[in-house]
Amino acid sequence: MSDLATMLWKEAAEFVAGARALRFSAVIVVFLGVMPALTGVRSSTAAALQSVGYVLITSVFVTAQSAPELILRERSGHSLETLLATRLPDRAIFAGKVLSGAAVGYLMAMATLAIQLVAWALRTHGWNWLGLSDAAGRWFVLGGPAVLATYLATVGTIVAMRVGDQRSAYLVTIVSLAVLALPLLLHVVTVTTSASGLRSLVLGLAVVDAVLLAVGVRLFRRERLILYLQE
């Protein structure tokens, strides 16, 4: 665990010191945070639906941007090989990258939610919990960004190990969301909007995340990365 904590410390320190990444995330968070209050919807139910959508969008776009960047920055800065030459185990490096990318996406989604709540309260002169006011909403607003961010961070990290270009890695990561949507589109999986339905959806995605993470840990090999770097 201490190796994973070291990786998380490193990524957090770099993220806080990186003005560009912070600016990108702050713009998205503020923009999507004030949207429900500015779009002219009158009912808190409609605002809650918008809130959920924007929170999910924040987690998707911020994670798809930041997760590949965590690897690509190391590749371009030539620090990746030095990191691989340390005693850190493969799984700590990989899990550290994935969890850091997911954490950035999730925290930004929660920041968006916080701004939404404040903005809506200022507009309506009264407090309303929007999507958090019922159990189904809570599963979706709190659990949805977490599972989506973890999924995208895992895919983004694996893609960035192979693809050395930020834009390509970002696009492949975003497109990978379609894989998640396929079972729903093909009606292999049906989801109800009840609390138990949304809980099942979030937990199902969490299982997908866990499997993907395990596959990623198995795929992440120092030698493979060194060979990619040599190319």
């Binding site: 410390w9 800065g77 030095t82 185990p89 030698e223």
Partner: protein
């Protein structure tokens, strides 16, 4: 005591290309080993295999008595590394960069702070500890890279082209640092370099690699005296008599210069005695006979160019 590094028939292929071929090498503990060779000779691939970052295609390697692939984590915890690209984290400060590697080495917070301070003071970067590395010059980055490699008191220090791309002032500064490290003893230093004078000054042993094969290895002094036809320089009071002397078979005499020095290339080292006898017999007035040593550069160029 087992050697610090042992390679036996070490080979690494990338598809049809062989980067390192049948490398046999032994580096004693505490030695300062210079690994010389042109670009693409296989130095970096060898270093990567030593660190367990690449698996050998054939042969075996042991570093500090450990198998780099099977015991990579343990090996890397005892090894300090400065690769050809320093690989610092530009967004972090100098102190944070070292602190990170202290955490990776699992140092306790108090010990880590003390080690970071000592390392930064050693490379004269303590006053810049709160500065972001992105603003550092190449020389400062190299110094910080060495401080990072030394942080956990590694038994083995691997330096890949530590003075590459530096200006003369920074090269001297870094060489002084490396000289002090080499003088401390106790730690094995494996250094890849193009700088022959650096290898000559710092290394107790050097190896020259060409096209993936180790073509020469030994102490710089031994290598300097080895290979090629033996040459002696002879100073005579009467050079003309020396030129007319009956020289040993196959000997070739050049000169003299204004001070009566002549250069004689012999067929074999044992001919020196015969040469002196011939000069004495010719009444050349022999004042001095000095064997001419080949420089490390001569040796390097001859083996690298395949001469």
């Amino acid at each position: 005591m087992t050697p610090a590094i042992v390679c036996r028939g070490l080979t690494r292929r990338f598809g049809a290309q062989t980067a390192v071929a049948d490398l046999d090498l032994e580096v004693a503990r505490g030695a300062v080993f210079g690994f010389l060779g042109p670009n693409g000779a296989g130095k970096t691939t060898t270093v990567r295999m030593m660190l367990g970052l690449l698996r050998p295609s054939a042969g075996r390697i042991a570093v500090l008595g450990l198998d780099p692939v099977a015991q990579g984590e343990e090996l890397r915890s005892q090894t300090g590394v400065l690769l050809d690209q320093v690989g610092l984290y530009d967004r972090l400060t100098a102190a944070q960069n070292l602190d990170l590697f202290g955490r990776i080495a699992r140092m306790a917070p108090t010990a880590r702070r003390a080690k970071v301070e000592a390392a930064l003071r050693r490379v004269d970067l303590w006053d810049r500890r709160h500065d972001h590395v992105s603003g550092f010059s190449k020389g400062m980055r190299q110094k910080l890279g060495i401080a990072r490699a030394l942080l956990a008191d590694p038994q083995l220090l691997i330096l890949d082209e530590p003075t590459s791309g530096l200006d003369p002032v920074n090269i001297k500064m870094l060489r002084d640092l490396l000289t002090s490290l080499a003088a401390e003893g106790g730690r094995t230093i494996f250094m890849c370099t193009h700088q022959l004078d650096e290898a000559q000054r710092l290394c107790s042993q050097v190896g020259i690699i060409r096209a993936g094969r180790l073509v020469a290895v030994g102490a710089p002094d031994d290598l300097e005296g080895s290979g090629g036809a033996p040459v002696v320089r002879v100073q005579c009071r009467r050079p003309a008599a020396g030129q007319a002397a009956n020289l040993p078979a196959g000997a070739q005499l050049d000169g003299p210069d204004g001070e009566g020095w002549m250069r004689v290339t012999l067929a074999q080292a044992a001919d020196v005695e015969e040469l002196i006898k011939a000069l004495v017999a010719a009444d050349a007035g022999v004042l001095a006979v000095v064997p001419e040593r080949r420089s490390l550069e001569d040796v390097y160029l001859s083996v690298v160019e395949g001469a």
